[in-house]
Every structure is written in structure tokens, then in C-alpha cells.
Amino acid sequence: MLRGARVRDDKDFSGCSIFGMMNLRGEKFNGDPMITAIANMKERSNGLGGGFAAYGIYPQYAELYCFQLMYDDQAAKEETEGYLKDSFSLEGAEVIPTRSCEGVSDPPLLWRYFLQPRESIACDLEDVDDFVVRAVMHINVFIDGAFVFSSGKDMGVFKGVGFPEDVGRFFRLDEYEGYIWVAHGRFPTNTQAWWGGAHPFNILDWSVVHNGEISSYGINMRHLEMYGYKCTLFTDTEVIAYAVDLLVRRHGLSIEDMSRVLAAPLWSEIDRMPAREREAHVALRQSYGSLLLNGPFSIIISNREQMIGLTDRIRLRPLVAGRNGDFMYISSEEAPMHLVDDTLKDTWIPHGGVPVVAELIKPAAREEETGGKVLSISGAEPA
């Protein structure tokens, strides 16, 4: 369906399945287990949207931004390419390879571009990432029929209308190799389906898959608008991605503190904290109250180095985590983790509002950062 024909509800309402899998040493694997895992939670989606994000898949262009776009028509493509050429140097432009697949029909034109801001422009920029975000916003808001659904480096989002396993096969994910993968199956309550509305939602390196509904959406959106983000998709997920981008990339909060904004501790808990901690938490809630995500959600947020699982503070949606050697899993349900990893034993249910953070162990820093431990996972239940 064309974007212009969508009904404007306040936002999308949907229930969902989410699944994330990461190799902490950065060793890559293809998209097959992801398809297997997400297909196992078919109950949680209804064929109106599925998608994946994969990190580490474009090593040959690792320093370039990869814009993946969907176009309604050729005119939108021409206009977008004209816009991009004005300020970016395009090092590569290609059709995103797909195969025909039952259950996936009427795809838009799917293109990807490897690019970076022109040198003459980049040297004047205070922050190249901000410039890229503005370009993404411009295309999504002002170019009719064009939509950037992925804009990070060495990563890509693949999503569309259909069951996630079909969308995965359509995008030939078995042919990509990445070290972090996340997947999403969608159950929207409204029947319209638009390819751009599927998850993951992405901005720069951040991807978000999300199960739930954000009751605070209206104010989250208005707050982000003050910082130049335009919520064009009317999805909770978009709001989460922008909030993470604002808090972590632009405002420099740690992942833990960012989680403390999105799923803030209750005032009664804050009041009981030791003075220094309390002071920090009070200030975070005072200042970022408009970014508190209220309502049921479980999400997986990922970037090139981390995969983070988080639920709302009173834990109204499911989330399970697991680890086995170098592999880390975060999922709506436990079963698919065992399905793709039959030696997996260590699984747990994270507390509401407490993030599960899986971090890439960088080769050089491996020993000292982890204090000799093999894994770097926080948020895990103490053994």
C-alpha cells in the first residue's frame, strides 16, 4: 500500500515477537537461525510485517553509511538520488537482491547506497552523524514515496510485509554474515500494511525491535521533535530509536543511564538509593521525564557493539535472555533459543526496567575490560 493511502491513527498498535542473537567475539553467522527462531513464534505475528537487522554484513564498506531505501516509484528514486548526490559522494548503488517468495508480494523498489557526506561538506560539519540524520529526516518527510529504512555503517535492515520468515527468505538472509542479528514478527491491530512500518526501526547504527505499546507515545514524540527528530512513521519503535540516539549518541549517557530514562526506577526506589546515586536518578527523571516509556514493552536495541534487552519498569511484556559460550540471546520466548542452540542451558528472566547488555569484546581490550571473564554481560541474574 502506498504511504499516502495509510490511515493516520495516532500510531500503530501492535503485538509482536522479538529475537536477538549475538556472537560476543564478533564471529559471524548467517541469517538462517534467525529465520528458524522467529518462525517458531508464529503465534505472535499475523503476516503483516516482519524484519531483521544484521551487523557486520558489509565489511568491504565498513566506513561508509549504508542507506537502504524503499521507493514507491521511479520518480521517488530519481528525486532521492538527486538529493543524495547534492551532498553525499555515492561509492556504490545497487538493487537489494531478493528472491521471489510465497507470502511476500508487491515489494517496493529496494535500493541501497554506500555513501558519505562530500568532503567539502563534511569538513564544515560539527557532527557528521547529525548531518546524516537530517538527510534521513529530509527524505522521509519531504520526498513522497521514498523511505530510508536503514542508515548505519556495516549493517542493514531488511523488512517488509509478510511473516518474518518469508521476509527473511525474500531478502536472501542466508547469504549475509553478521555477528549481531535481531528479528521481529509483527501483529498490528490495524489491517493496513506498509513495508516501512515493519520493524526493526533504524537510525544510524541504532536498530530497535519492539513488542508492546507505548502509552506515553504522544509526549515522547513531542519531546523528540524539540530536538529535531520527525516521527514520520507513527510507531512506538521509531520513537524508541530516536530517544536512544538522542540520549546515547548526542547526550552521551551510558547504556545503563539511558535505560534508567526509558524505564525509570520508581520514585519510591529512588528515594531509598544512596545519596550520590539518588541525586543522579532524580536529575535524570526530572530532566528526561518526557522520554520515560510508559506502557507495556519489551525491546531489543542494537548497535555495532551492543545488543540490549529491556522491558518496561513493571514488566508488562515478556523477555527472556540466554547465553551459551560466546553466544547471547534475547527473546520474547524461551523456546526459539533452544531451537537454534540445543546446548543452551543458561537462561533467565530479566527484571523489569533492568537492561540486559551484551557487549562485543574488542580483541585488544578483551582481557583487561572483562577482568579475565570470557563474557561481558550485565543485567544477568547473579549465579
Binding site: 495516532d10 500510531k11 498498535f13 501492535s14 503485538g15 491491530t189 508492546g212 505499546e213 502509552s215 506515553s216 507515545y217 504522544g218 509526549i219 513531542r222 519531546h223 521533535e225 524539540m226 530536538y227 548526542r250 547526550h251 552521551g252 549517557l253 551510558s254 545503563e256 543511564d257 534508567r260 525509570a264 520508581l266 520514585w267 519510591s268 544512596p274 550520590r276 546515586e277 541525586e279 543522579a280 536518578h281 536529575a283 535524570l284 527523571r285 526530572q286 530532566s287 528526561y288 521525564g289 518526557s290 520515560l292 510508559n294 506502557g295 507495556p296 519498569r313 513493571i314 508488562l316
Partner: protein, 503 residues
């Protein structure tokens, strides 16, 4: 001169029920009732009745009924009874028509044209009796960015926030001066605010020394007359408020008649006993926005940058632009007072015709501050006709951080909105300095009634929040998607920034 004004009310006494106890006669400061020993009967001079219902409420045998006088001038859409009454009154006195409380005209009350959302299926509603439900609110400037470092693995704050007011429920008591209301009423407000973890506002009449102990829950106002403003007054407050305007009388000053300036008031206001206390219309040191900035910083400097400074304005046509200027001038809080805001005394024509409804002003200000990217730099507090918890929650969803209630608080203490506050004869012991009348308001009872009101409203707000699947008030603040308009024009919807119900 014979008055041509017909009595507004009729006082009907059931002689069979009346036990001649004379309660009504003693209670009425307007001298409506009197007992005639010879006839052993109680009579009423209805021309004096203001309809405050004090006698009806206290009559031990329910012998009294006060109702509108059915005698009316011939029906006329232009020359209504009220219009004629005003003309007669002025023809008989040559004065400016005075009144009390807020505008009673039928301008649209947008609160009643806005409905709230609730969760169904896709999002569970939350039961506030079983789950935490947070109303705590902080007023004050919020930084654009908060930097948090790490010390020993624990977060450690690097960005110092400017002073904040902590409210356990987003409802405060509006500015009502000592002078406009009795000491007992002031004490009730101060104690209730303290007990509820919120704030009351002194208004422009200074602060009685006995109430300094509630300073942590007191917002001290600095108005154009500067009554009672001195170092201790500024020091004792939790926050300061510069009063530029008031919703009931935008653009004009205030006048407390000399009769009301008793010894205590004279001491508190720092003016001679028995002299009129006249607040000029503007602050004579604020003729422009940069002058306002100077006063804001002077007050901050005088209080060692330890207290937030609020600036209160009446809601007028350009409130949005003015509010933006106020925020840029350094205010931590912008207080907006709408056309329905109350007063102890105001010229009727001004009260009823100047200013705009608070709902529209609030929506416009919140939108403008967001468009300019400065909404976080000040909190927005609204006043002027907040009647119940649903008005509060709608105000918050439109974008307010908190509300001020004035009339509702007085009603909780017994006020029956007779609009005769300017006479100083309030039979309920509120808007009066007459010790015989003011002792009718027992501060213990006044406090309890106010605490009960805020408790009830807070519970209702929690229920409504829970119904929307929200467990912290900040997730509703400015969340206009949870509101819908009913029967509003597109223009009204656009200003309010909400959709029509069904859309």
C-alpha cells in the same frame, strides 16, 4: 435614593419548622434576618441577600430556602435582568461595578469539550490500588542535556540542575493574599500544602510571621505594590513568583480598601493601618521584557540562586509570545491565569471581558515553547477555573506541569461563590478580616477539608492515569494524543492540538 434593584433572591422560611433560634440572624453579616420579639417571628430583608447560603446551611431545622427571585423584567435578549441591575446600581452610586471570584459568563469551557482516552486490549490498564502510580512532579528549569559520569561503577551527576520544587501531587493553591482572605484561611492553605507535599502561594499581601514555619511549602509573590516584600520574606519562601497579571483582571492593579487593613495586615504588608493598599497596574520597574529579566535575576541573586522564580501572567491574546519571552528572560516557571480565574475584587466589566480561556492559552504556550525548543527551560503552571480532577488531568495532557487552584480551594473551605468577596463580609469567614466572621473558619477544619480535597483528586487522577495504561504523570504531560475534542471546530482543535473524537 430609592433603589430600583429587585432582590436577587427570595428567602423563604417555614414558620412551622422555625424554632426562633436566631442562628440565621447572627450568621448573616449582610443583616438579612432579624428576630422580632414582640411578634416572636424571624423576618428577612431580601434586598440584602447575596445568596451565600450560610443561613440555609446552618439552620438547625432546615426551615430556610433561598432561591432566585422569579420576578423578572420582561424577556429581552439584550436588556437582561443583569444588565438592568448593573445600570440601576451605577445610576444610584456613580461607581465602577465591582465583583468577586471569577468570570461567570458562559464562555466555552473547553475542559467540558475534551474527553480522555483509556486502554483497551492492546495495552493493559493499570490498577492504582495494586500497582505504583506516580504523581510526583518537579517544577523548575530542566537542562537540555544531563551529564552523568561514573564513580566506582555508580552513576554520579555532573550536570547541576537549577533549584526545583517537588510536588507530591501536581496541584498547588493559587495566589490569594492575606488581606483578600482571612488569616485562618491562609493558615489552612499553608498547613494543607505542607501536609500534602505541595505549595500554596501568598499572593501579593506578604506573609504573616506565624506562617513562616510553613515556608518550605510557600511560594512568595512579588507584585507591583511590593507589599510585605523584605529579605526575610524572600528568604523563607520555597520559590518566588513575580506577579505580572491576574486572569480576573488582566492589565489592572489591585485595591485593598483601608477598612480591611487591620493592625496585623498593616504589619504584614508594611503599610500604615487603615490606608488603602493600591497595587499599580504595571510594575513601575518593569516596562519591558529586559526589565523583567532584571527583576528575575535580582530575586535569584537576593536568594543566593537557591529558589526557582516563577512569573505569573494573565492569559491574553499573545500569551505564547509573552511566555516565550519570559522563559528567555530566565524564569523557571511560567504561571498562566485564565479568564475564569478568581479575585477578591475586580471591576465586573474587566473580569468578564478581558483575557482568554486558560485551555487555549495553555495549548498555545506549550506548543510555542516546543516549537522554539525551550519547553524544558521552564515549567508551565495553569490557573483559572480548574474545578475538578478531570480538569487537572486534561490540563496536564494539554501540556501543563501542574495547576493552581484558587476558587476550588475556597469552596472546599466553605465558599459558596456568592461573588461578594469585595465587601469584606464573607459569612464563611474566608474573604473577610472581621474577627467575628473569620473565626468561623477553624484552621484545623479548613486544613482537613483542603487535604481531603487534594487526596480525593489525587486518587481520581491515579485512576484515570491507570485507565490510560500510564503509571507516571510525566508520561501524560503534553501527551495530547490521549485527548479528543467533542463538538469543537477545526480551528479550536488546531489551537488545542488535539483531534476530534472518532478521528
Amino acid at each position: 435614593m430609592k433603589s430600583y434593584i429587585l432582590p436577587q433572591y427570595l428567602v423563604e422560611r417555614d414558620d412551622y419548622r422555625c424554632i426562633r433560634c436566631e442562628v440565621c440572624a447572627r450568621q448573616c453579616a449582610f443583616d438579612v434576618h432579624w428576630y422580632d420579639e414582640e411578634e416572636d417571628a424571624v423576618f428577612a430583608d431580601e434586598s440584602k441577600c447575596v445568596g451565600c447560603l450560610r443561613c440555609v446551611t446552618l439552620c438547625p431545622t432546615n426551615a430556610l430556602v433561598v432561591r432566585h427571585n422569579p420576578t423578572q423584567i420582561p424577556p429581552n435578549a439584550n436588556w437582561t435582568g443583569e444588565v438592568l441591575r448593573n445600570i440601576y446600581r451605577q445610576a444610584e452610586t456613580g461607581g465602577v461595578l465591582l465583583t468577586g471570584m471569577g468570570c461567570d459568563k458562559g464562555y466555552p469551557i473547553y475542559w467540558d469539550r475534551i474527553v480522555l482516552d483509556a486502554s483497551q486490549v492492546t495495552n493493559p490498564s493499570i490498577d492504582p490500588l495494586r500497582e505504583p502510580m506516580e504523581l510526583r512532579t518537579y517544577l523548575g528549569a530542566k537542562p537540555d542535556v544531563v551529564k552523568v559520569g561514573r564513580k566506582g561503577g555508580k552513576p554520579s551527576l555532573e550536570t547541576r540542575l537549577t533549584p526545583q520544587l517537588r510536588l507530591e501531587t501536581p496541584i498547588m493553591f493559587s495566589a490569594i493574599s492575606y488581606g483578600a482572605i482571612s488569616y485562618n484561611a491562609c493558615e489552612s492553605l499553608a498547613r494543607a500544602a505542607t501536609e500534602m507535599g505541595t505549595y500554596y502561594n501568598t499572593g501579593e499581601g506578604g506573609l504573616h510571621r506565624n506562617l513562616y514555619k510553613y515556608g518550605d511549602h510557600t511560594i512568595c509573590q512579588v507584585a507591583s505594590g511590593r507589599f510585605g516584600v523584605h529579605a526575610d520574606y524572600l528568604e523563607v519562601a520555597a520559590a518566588l513568583e513575580i506577579k505580572i497579571g491576574q486572569g480576573a483582571k488582566p492589565g489592572i492593579g489591585g485595591h485593598l480598601p483601608g477598612e480591611k487593613v487591620s493592625a496585623e495586615i498593616s504589619r504584614t504588608r508594611m503599610i500604615p493601618k487603615g490606608t488603602d493598599a493600591i497595587s499599580p497596574a504595571p510594575h513601575h520597574d518593569i516596562y519591558s521584557i529586559e526589565d523583567l529579566a532584571q527583576l528575575i535575576y535580582a530575586l535569584k541573586e537576593a536568594t543566593h540562586w537557591e529558589k526557582p522564580v516563577s512569573v505569573k501572567i494573565a492569559a491574553v491574546h499573545n500569551s505564547a509570545a509573552i511566555a516565550s519571552g519570559i522563559v528567555r528572560a530566565g524564569a523557571d516557571i511560567v504561571a498562566l491565569d485564565g479568564i475564569r480565574g478568581g479575585t477578591g475584587a475586580a471591576p465586573t466589566m474587566i473580569r468578564d471581558n478581558v483575557g482568554i480561556p486558560i485551555e487555549l492559552a495553555l495549548a498555545a504556550v506549550d506548543t510555542r515553547l516546543r516549537e522554539e525548543g525551550i519547553r524544558n527551560r521552564a515549567s508551565v503552571v495553569v490557573a483559572g477555573g480548574i474545578r475538578n480532577s478531570s480538569d487537572v488531568i486534561k490540563a496536564i495532557a494539554l501540556g501543563a506541569d501542574a495547576v493552581y487552584i484558587g476558587t476550588a480551594a475556597l469552596v472546599a473551605m466553605g465558599c459558596h461563590v456568592c461573588q461578594k468577596c469585595y465587601t469584606g463580609k464573607c459569612n464563611w469567614g474566608i474573604a473577610t478580616q472581621d474577627p467575628y466572621l473569620s473565626k468561623r473558619l477553624n484552621p484545623d477544619v479548613g486544613t482537613r477539608r483542603l487535604v481531603n480535597l487534594l487526596t480525593g483528586w489525587s486518587h481520581e487522577i491515579m485512576e484515570m492515569l491507570g485507565g490510560m495504561g500510564i503509571n507516571a504523570i510525566e508520561s501524560l504531560r503534553g501527551n495530547r494524543l490521549r485527548l479528543r475534542g467533542v463538538g469543537l471546530t477545526q480551528e479550536e482543535l488546531d489551537i488545542l492540538g488535539i483531534k476530534h473524537a472518532g478521528a
